[in-house]
């Protein structure tokens, strides 16, 4: 199934949330809004390219964006990707299960 890096997980969650409207700028905004992290368009684009190579997402070229007239690339989560994402999420949850209080104590002194 393949291991997912942290950044790849963020992207796939974004794609999941955005559904049919998952394209570069929207994915970027979703990640920034939800996590507060700034990510570059290039990083997203290349990560999506790798994920597509691994069969986790599928892309299609959609309608041009409003003003500049250039086509957008939309992404959809495939079953393989959904499985990998679910597994990653479950793994983290299992690892972290019951450890949050201790973590909070260490982190905040």
């Amino acid at each position: 199934m393949g291991y997912l890096g942290e950044f790849e997980q963020l992207i796939l969650f974004s794609v999941l949330e955005l559904g049919d409207g998952a394209y570069g700028v929207a994915i970027r905004e979703t990640i920034e809004d939800r996590t507060g992290r700034t990510v570059s368009s290039g990083a997203i684009y290349t990560a999506l390219g790798r994920l597509e190579d691994r069969g986790m997402v599928r892309s299609r070229t959609g309608e041009p964006d409003g003003t500049a007239g250039r086509p957008r690339k939309y992404y959809l989560l495939r079953r393989e990707g959904a499985r990998a994402l679910k597994e990653s999420y479950r793994t983290i949850q299992s690892m972290a299960d019951g450890l949050l209080p201790k973590l909070t104590e260490l982190a905040e002194g």
């Binding site: 394209y23 570069g24 700028v25 970027r28 905004e29 700034t38 570059s40 368009s41 290039g42 990083a43 997203i44 684009y45 290349t46 390219g49 964006d65 003003t67 500049a68 250039r70 086509p71 957008r72 690339k73």
Partner: protein, 910 residues
């Protein structure tokens, strides 16, 4: 903190390119380069859309642009990193890796080389960047197409004051501009009933001016042509931050009446906080001056600007303006001989500076500075690479003997140097960005105008990288060619004997000497600027600016129905008010002296050329023309050094005419009269609007006073002429008050005193003199700060080069030193072996450096024209001592290291 460039918000309904809704053009070009191909095209689309969406989410334009830039650079890295990874196995990258390992093994040399490139290249570029920054286009839509229009007098290198007549003529006749406007900025008291608040900058501006700047009001409307008609209701626009701060952000502000000075104005609109035209103004009112109301050349002084017509460029407009003035000159060739019309950037217009261009000696000097710095950089790096290459002599020679081509080795060395160069330059650029921000904070709000953005631009980054590549090529390739040259066999023999295939000959000596010479030149200039540019004390000006407060009183002529009148009732009203205020001030405890005059100490010189009777009419000296009340000098305790002070006979209150008597400053006597006896001499002014010399007024000198800060930056240009001013004169005048306490605290008291004399009269500004002087000085401080920084860098480069070379020499001659020590040579002998050559290079460098510094300071910079007398010999001596000390230390350390070498170790090492 420092306002960054930003555009006003756009109208709803979107906009097309060029009105701020697209990312900056330069960066889009960079995006095309950094993000090529199909993948790059998709990413670029995303970048553009991200920018537009940021704007839609009300992220300020400046921040949106920064996000675009950051996103672009990171995206390029992401895109290309994949390509780079596949490059790892290629030979070039192996060379680079080898290069990096070598860098790590010789940390000192590496550090010095990185210092040279990382500091030197951005520092050199910063000079050009500073010029770009100072003359950046206005932060308005298509701001680069808004230009200033003015006339320039080439003789004293100053702009010609622009009159209402000039404005109307240019508005009518210039075809290159689709719209022309005029503005004048000054300090105003804006309040909602509490007159003790500090004044703000405000402007009188034409409706056409606001229109062409394409500003959109947040509330209400802009000014219209109907507002400019004399007698129309008094209206005003406020800036958003002023509206919030002084009027509580009142949502009903439009239509509300506020007070400015003594008058009521109706607010008709609120403009965005980031609109600061012209001089960080917060208030705008209609400009009502018309040419018909004034004699030719009279009236208020304006700044005229315009938006270029579509398809017209600055050069075309400049040519038209040149021709326009030339036609006028044809009517009066003598008077207008040195006047030319020009089209300049708006910052150049507002700062009243000449702009940098080919032919301007300042520009030539800047280029000299830049190229010297770059030479130092390349020289340093070259020396270091040579040294490093030399230490690999054995390896190179053997490789050559084994058949490696010269080209291959040279490429290897080049790539290694390139790695160094790019890394260093990248770090240097980051440091430059940091320094720029700190410098901006240092200069402060007075020096840094709202249009100046000191951050990095695409041009700077690309130039820096280009220079790094060139420097690496020069510094890397030449030594490599040398190292691989010569007879292979001879090299092998030398290498076997423990020496090097590289000899440090005349070339490297010349390099070191040149570096020392240049560094001394830089240091001397820096020393001068530190002395004069950063002077805060005003002892050299002949007075202490902290002792003075300044107040301007708005005459209540409008209320008395006497607006713009020169009639007897008007004069009587004014005289009464002025005498009343003077009296109050004189009796006020804490006031040491008071004077009334048209101008103040703390200016930057004058614009009135004079022609002395009986003297030839070439190159007239520019003087500052001032009007002072009869009791001015006595009131402020300024002694009359020759002749007499003004008295009642010098003004005729009834007729309003003045006998033509003047008092001049000592600078006037020196510069205009060559130090000759002044009393009784006569002169006239030469103005562009003079008809013929026959009708000009001749003025007679009756007295001489000492300097009183007419030009705080350049006392050489502070020749002043003081005309007597009657208290009844309706011309604007300001009170200069010498106080024994804190001049800042005096302002509210001043307002009270004036209100006590006449409640209708109000104080339109009351500030410490220091505040006004500060703003004049900061432009020059910016230049000084930058040059001192460059001087420091240049010196550091030079010294580090010397140190590194010395260090290397010691390590190369370890064996030789060891043998000599084993044979019984004394410490002194060994020291002279090691350091003798370097000491000679240093000594020659110092000697030549002293000469170079003298030439530079006395001739090229014209140091005797700077603000305060600086002692050139002392400065140069100080510089030499500094340089010698540092140079000696640079030589000493490696030398001492050499002395500590054990003979047996030395012999073993080879």
């Amino acid at each position: 903190m420092i306002p960054l460039r930003s555009s006003p918000p756009d109208p709803p309904g979107g906009g097309d390119g060029g009105d701020g809704r697209d990312p900056p053009g330069g960066w889009r070009a960079v995006a095309h380069i950094l993000l090529p191909g199909r993948d790059g095209a998709f990413i670029r689309t995303e970048l553009d859309e991200g920018f537009r969406r940021d704007l839609e989410r009300s992220i300020p334009v400046g921040r949106a642009r920064r996000r675009y830039r950051s996103n672009l650079l990171k995206s390029a890295w992401s895109l290309h990193w994949g390509h780079l990874r596949s490059f790892v196995s290629s030979g070039l990258l192996t060379d680079a890796r080898l290069g990096m390992r070598l860098l790590a093994r010789q940390p000192l040399l590496t550090a010095v080389a990185m210092l040279a490139l990382g500091l030197g290249i951005p520092a050199s570029l910063s000079i050009f960047h500073m010029v770009d920054v100072m003359y950046s286009p206005l932060p308005v839509p298509e701001g680069e197409r808004v230009m200033g229009i003015r006339e320039w007098d080439a003789a004293p290198h100053d702009p010609v004051p622009t009159s209402v007549h000039d404005y109307e003529r240019w508005r009518e006749e210039l075809q290159s501009f689709e719209a022309v406007g005029a503005v004048r900025s000054y300090s105003m008291n804006v309040h909602a009933g509490d007159p003790s608040v500090p004044p703000v900058m405000g402007a009188e501006i034409t409706a056409s001016g606001l229109d062409l700047l394409r500003v959109r009001p947040l509330l209400g409307r802009l000014l219209g042509p109907e507002d400019q008609i004399p007698g129309a209701p008094d209206v005003v626009l406020l800036r958003e931050d002023l509206w919030r701060a002084r009027f509580g952000g009142d949502p009903e502000i439009v239509g509300r009446s506020i007070r400015i000075g003594g008058d009521s104005y109706t607010v008709v609109g609120v403009l965005p906080a980031d609109f600061r035209f012209a001089l960080d103004d917060q208030v705008w009112m209609p400009l009502r001056a018309r040419a018909v109301d004034y004699p030719v050349g009279g009236g208020p002084r304006l700044k005229v600007f315009g938006r270029l017509a579509p398809g017209v460029d600055r050069e075309t407009a400049g040519t038209e303006m040149l021709n326009l003035t030339a036609r006028r000159r044809a009517d009066d060739p003598d008077r207008l001989r040195t006047i030319t019309g020009e089209v300049v950037t708006v910052p150049g217009l507002l700062m009243e500076q000449g702009e940098f261009f080919e032919g301007n000696p300042d520009w030539a000097l800047m280029k000299l500075v830049v190229f010297s710095l770059l030479f130092l950089v390349c020289g340093n790096v070259g020396v270091l690479v040579l040294a490093r290459t030399s230490s690999r002599a054995k390896e190179i020679t053997i490789r050559t003997a084994l058949g490696a081509s010269r080209g291959r080795i040279v490429v290897q060395v080049f790539v290694e140097t390139l790695v160094l160069g790019l890394a260093a330059t990248g770090l240097g650029l980051l440091a430059a960005e940091f320094v720029a921000r700190e410098l901006a904070a240092l200069i402060g709000p007075f020096g840094l105008q709202y249009w100046m953005d000191l951050g990095l631009t695409p041009g700077i980054i690309l130039s820096a990288l280009g220079l790094a590549v060139c420097a690496s090529a020069v510094a890397g390739v030449l030594p490599a060619i040398r190292a691989t040259g010569g007879q292979v066999r001879a090299n092998l023999q030398r290498v076997a004997a423990g020496g090097s295939s590289v000899r440090f000959g005349l070339g490297s000596s010349l390099l070191i000497v040149t570096e020392v010479v240049l560094a001394i030149g830089f240091l001397a200039v820096g020393g001068i600027l530190v002395q004069s540019g950063f002077r805060n004390t005003s002892g050299d000006w002949g007075f202490d600016r902290d002792d003075y407060a300044v107040g301007t009183v708005r005459l209540p002529l409008a209320e008395a129905g006497l607006a713009r009148s020169d009639s007897a009732p008007a004069r009587s009203t004014v005289a009464q008010l002025r005498e009343g205020v003077l009296e109050e001030l004189r009796e006020e405890p804490g006031v040491v002296g008071v004077g009334l005059g048209s101008s103040l100490p703390g200016g930057t010189g004058g614009g009135w050329p004079v022609i002395v009777e009986g003297e030839p009419e070439e190159e007239p000296v520019r003087t500052a023309r001032q009007w002072v009340h009869v009791g001015f000098f006595e009131g402020l305790g300024r002694p009359i050094l020759a002749g007499r002070d003004f008295d009642g006979s010098d003004v005729e209150v009834e007729s309003g005419r003045y006998p033509d008597r003047v008092i001049v400053s000592t600078s006037f006597v020196d510069q205009v009269l060559g130090g000759r006896q002044p009393i009784g001499r006569r002169f006239r002014y030469r103005t562009p609007t003079d008809t013929t010399g026959a009708d000009a007024t001749w003025y007679q000198i009756v007295g001489v006073v000492g300097p009183f800060g007419v030009n705080v930056v350049n006392p050489r240009r502070d020749a002043a002429v003081y005309h007597p001013l009657s208290a009844a004169d309706v011309r604007p005048a300001r009170y200069l008050v010498e106080v024994s306490g804190d001049s800042r605290a005096f302002a509210p008291r001043f307002r009270e005193l004036v209100a006590g004399v006449d409640p209708e009269a109000t104080v339109t500004d009351a500030v410490p003199l220091g505040t006004i002087i500060e703003s004049e000085l900061t432009f020059f401080r910016l230049v000084a700060a930058l040059t001192v920084a460059l001087a420091g860098i240049a010196f550091l480069l030079s010294v580090s080069g010397l140190y590194a070379l010395m260090s290397f020499t010691v390590s190369q001659r370890t064996r030789e030193i060891g043998i000599r020590a084993a044979l019984g040579a004394s410490a002194l002998d060994i020291m002279s072996t090691i350091a003798g050559r370097a000491a000679a290079q240093l000594a020659i460098g110092l000697a030549l450096g002293a000469v170079w510094a003298w030439v530079l300071l006395a001739d090229v910079l014209g140091v005797d024209t700077l603000a305060v007398p600086v002692d050139i010999p002392l400065t140069i001596a100080g510089t030499l001592v500094c340089a010698a000390l540092v140079g000696v230390v640079a030589c000493l350390s490696p030398t001492l290291r050499g002395l500590r070498i054990e003979p047996t170790e030395a012999l073993r090492e080879s």
